[in-house]
Amino acid sequence: MTRKQKRLAIIGMGMGFLALAAGLTFYALGQQTSYFYMPSDLLTRPAAAGERVRLGGLVQQGSVIRDQGTRVRFVVEDGGNAIEVIYEGILPDLFREQQGVVTEGQIGQDGILMADTVLAKHDETYMPREVAERLKEEGVWQEEE
């Protein structure tokens, strides 16, 4: 092989990997990203059954119920809507009623979110950022300090 052919071979191989990576990336971005919803979003843009969603909002006052053992039910609400969530496991340290929360999972036929992840990621005001931003926009948010 001449120098030129060898260089072409390497560039070809590089392009091949790049194409593979680009293909995988586009496919994965189409399949594996989850959209962030607030409960009121689900009124206007319902999630398909089985679609993976991230749901953020406030934990409704008095809604946290412990089922048998480790199963927990609670309601996530914002200004306009409320969604029931079921989660199996240990809730994060900063999970509290009337505080912000982000849950991830699938919405079933009955409209209940079966969550596999519950996050109460926090800044100093104990609020996940997506939730805080949206609640501010909707005017539900009250500054703590």
Binding site: M13, L20, R66, D93, E133
Partner: protein
């Protein structure tokens, strides 16, 4: 007083960093040797002054001097001494100061050990290093000054974020920064070479040890961060594909590529242009990581837009250095002479394959990290890209790389024999295939992917062993002779084998824990026992405990296996009183290479407690593998042929080029 002195030292460091940036650069341009030489004392003084500033801040923390805003915000007088010290870099301002301190340290090291470098190259390297220091010192002084005073001083501080009050903070950031920032040296060498318009094998010989050292530190830093998150966050995950983690993983991927392409350049003077580009890209990714983590853009794109001073400043630094270096590259790269020829099936070819796969894998991680930010900035739509995305893109690109690794060291330079290499590896191949097939058939939870992962992990470890055995001639010559030859092998060969085997161990750990992990979530009352793997865990009691700056509820467990007590595990819910912030402290017991991980949740009715128990088989291999990789890096650095500061005259370079026909 010492706080003002620290502030003053930092300003003085900026002034000297300006001298370091321009005097040697101008000197190199004019061929003025006295000007060029000014870079060395300047670099060493910049380091001394930054160290003084850092010491002043640390002193303020140790003294709990709450008249300093930064100390008040992040410290508390009741905090243990270790966390007062580590708290210095447990916040934005202090961690930027640590960043610059390490940058200045590397500059000073080049100044101190670079006497054998060609004078213009040394001058230019120090100048580029000085420019980076100037930019970041300006950033600290203008937007993130840790020495701001607070009047009147409060009596008590606001305490450090409880998650950071851990030994992990003492180790993780310094190691990570030594890696991250260490790549600035490769960058400075690349830019200096482009300014000079000349890159040769001696250049690669210089760049390689610096890159290797930075890579080893970064490996340790990432692994330490992973272990820290694993035990501190209380839910036992070791890697989350979080943007902050990706920010450190990206320079690791391209740094690994750089390490390998620098070998080709040193031994065969091929891939020059590519190596220079990789050196630029690697540090660019470090800068990008600094931007992502330090600008606040991750916490909120929104907040970034409303208070952009810090973010825009780092972005400007980013654009200046990346843009400048790439522009210089575009102008000068064509002037670099292309290097030696090689056949696609050869050591060089294998290393090119490694580079292609590593850089494309890095590209997918980059896209996954930046895409949500871009989408949100452009459309306001919030999406999240999590583990499933990376599993689908990164893993398919990384698997062939792992499969190819053992072939690399067995192929000859210039023109290799793939068939011969395959024959030599057949024992390693057969063993790993049989083991993983047996695992696949015997363990009913094993998926095809985990069997492949298992095979690849073993393949890497056995491949590394095979490589050493072949080079020592084990099985071909008498055992004593083989042993002598093994001991006599160059240290860099052991380094390679250790690094590759370490990677294999990490892969094995990841595969084992993701496939075979057992998890139990249940409500337990005192005296109750749960069975997990081959162990029994008894919940004994719950009791209060008071620490220096926290109170906690401790749950005590006893671990049994086969009716014999194996020890106690304590897991707790902790409340840091100053911030009123609760944390979960997991109880972990290491058994062999595996761990039992106990985390407790809320109390439920009638003194029952939600308990989450994991059996994590072979989980420690994930981090032990990284330690082995680090040791590999260190062993390779000790190789005399690579030692930092060893003269790198042309003579030596051609001699090794001749020797490498070996």
């Amino acid at each position: 007083m010492s706080v003002e002195l620290g502030h003053f030292a930092l300003v003085l460091a900026l002034a000297l960093a300006l001298v370091q940036s321009f005097a040697p650069l101008v000197g190199a341009r004019l061929g003025h040797s006295a000007l060029m030489r000014m870079g060395e004392p300047a670099a060493i003084t910049v380091f001394g002054l930054t160290a003084a500033a850092f010491a002043a801040l640390t002193f303020a923390y140790v003294q709990s001097d709450f008249s300093v805003l930064n100390v008040w915000e992040n410290s508390h007088s009741a905090k243990p001494l270790l966390f007062k010290i580590t708290g210095t870099w447990g916040n934005h301002e202090g961690s930027m100061l640590l960043w610059v301190l390490i940058l200045a340290l590397f500059g000073a090291l080049v100044a101190a050990f670079g006497r054998n470098l060609p004078p213009t190259l040394r001058a230019n390297v120090l100048a580029v290093q000085g420019l980076i220091a100037t930019a970041f010192l300006l950033f600290i002084l203008l937007t993130s000054n840790p020495f701001t005073r607070l009047v009147p001083p409060p009596i008590e501080g606001r305490d450090l974020n409880p998650i950071l009050q851990d030994i992990g903070l003492a180790i993780h950031p310094p190691l990570l920064y030594l890696g991250y920032v260490g790549f600035s040296i490769s960058f400075s060498f690349a830019v200096a070479a482009l300014i000079d318009g000349r890159v040769d094998a001696a250049w690669a010989r210089w760049v390689r040890p610096w890159t290797l050292a930075a890579w080893a530190f970064l490996t340790g830093g990432i692994a330490m961060g992973s272990y820290w998150a694993y035990y501190e966050l209380g839910w036992g995950g070791f890697w989350f594909w979080d943007p902050v983690e990706n920010a450190s993983f990206l320079p690791w991927l391209s740094g690994t590529a750089l390490l390998h392409s620098a070998i080709v350049m040193e031994k065969r003077s091929a891939l020059k242009i590519w190596t220079v580009l990789l050196a630029i890209l690697t540090f660019s990714l470090s800068l990008l990581g600094t931007f992502l983590v330090r600008s606040g853009v991750l916490t909120s794109v929104h907040a970034f837009a409303t208070d952009p001073s810090r973010g825009v400043f780092i972005l400007a630094i980013l654009v200046f250095f990346i843009g400048g270096a790439l522009a210089l590259f575009a102008l000068r790269a064509a002037a670099l002479t292309p290097g030696g020829l090689f056949h696609p099936i050869s050591r060089e070819g294998a290393l090119v394959l490694n580079n292609l796969l590593l850089t494309t894998a890095a590209a997918t991680v980059l896209v996954g990290t930046l895409y949500p930010l871009l989408v949100e900035a452009l459309t306001g739509e919030k999406i999240s890209v999590g583990a499933p995305f990376f599993n689908l893109t990164f893993i398919p690109l990384f698997l062939p790389l792992l499969a190819a690794v053992p072939f690399g060291p067995l192929l000859a330079w210039k023109r290799g024999d793939l068939l011969a290499a395959t024959q030599r590896l057949q024992v390693a191949f057969a063993l790993s295939a049989i083991c993983s097939l047996a695992g696949y058939l015997l363990i009913d939870r094993a998926s095809a992917l985990s069997a492949i992962g298992m095979a690849l992990g073993l393949w890497l470890v056995l491949g590394a062993v095979t490589d050493l055995a072949l080079k020592a001639g084990i099985g071909k010559v008498a055992p004593r002779m083989a042993l002598r030859r093994l001991v006599g092998l160059p240290l860099s060969m052991f380094g390679t084998a250790l690094a590759h085997a370490g990677l294999g161990l990490t892969v094995l750990g990841i595969v084992c824990v993701t496939t075979l992990e057992v998890e139990r979530i249940l409500v337990m009352r005192p005296g109750e026992t749960v069975e997990i793997a081959d162990y029994h865990l008894r919940f004994d009691n719950m009791g209060p405990f008071t620490g220096p700056n926290y109170t906690e509820d401790r749950a005590a467990f006893t671990l049994f296996s086969g009716g014999v007590v194996r020890g106690e595990i304590i897991s707790s819910k902790r409340l840091y009183t100053a911030r009123g912030m609760p944390t979960t402290e997991a109880g972990i017991r290491t058994i062999g290479l595996s761990q039992l991980y106990v985390s407790i949740g809320d109390n439920v009715s009638d003194d029952g407690l939600v308990v989450r128990v994991w059996w994590k088989p072979m989980v420690t291999l994930i981090w032990l593998g990284a330690v082995v990789m680090m040791v590999g890096g260190a062993v390779s650095l000790m190789d005399r042929r690579l030692r930092v500061g060893v003269p790198a005259p042309r003579r030596a370079a051609t001699a090794t080029a001749g020797k490498s026909a070996r």
